[in-house]
Symmetry: C2
Subunit: 90 residues, 2 copies
């Protein structure tokens, strides 16, 4: 009897950050406001995107390959942004 | 001789997500575009913010308290957004 190939589900988090040296106006604005609001001791604020989704693939390698391709082609601007991929079995 | 209180540094990640049931137009737009770009098997796309910074505090409890207060008052809209705080010693 024919057995369908098992498809596995993965929970994926893609954190998109601006590359070092690229101006981060959102982060700068937050950081400048903090002392006026009474928050001390906070520095180096950066603001990026956290994109979460579910990916179906034959195995973790295939899932990671698809997500890397997706990041390069669609989710990030590779000229100014970096992507960090976290992948775990759903 | 007087010893200053030791100040510890923590690397903080605040992930800001829309609460369940709140419309996520960015996520929907990404998800709808994927089949046209040749990406299959991806679902449940959500887009949030990833805010990173360094926090100085006496201990981890004090740091977490300050970050929670910061999330409530400034980094999120608590009516429609949730914050997940990850904190580790720098």
């Amino acid at each position: 009897m024919w057995e369908p190939e098992a498809v596995k589900k993965f929970n994926v988090l893609v954190e998109v950050t601006l590359q070092p040296g690229i101006l981060d106006p959102q982060g700068t604005t937050i950081e400048r406001s903090l002392p006026h609001l009474g928050f001390d001791g906070i520095s180096g604020v950066t603001v990026g995107k956290a994109i979460r989704f579910t990916c179906e693939a034959a195995d973790e390698g295939a899932a990671r390959g698809e997500v890397e391709e997706l990041c390069k082609r669609f989710l990030t601007n590779p000229v100014i942004e970096d992507a960090t991929i976290t992948l775990e079995r759903a």
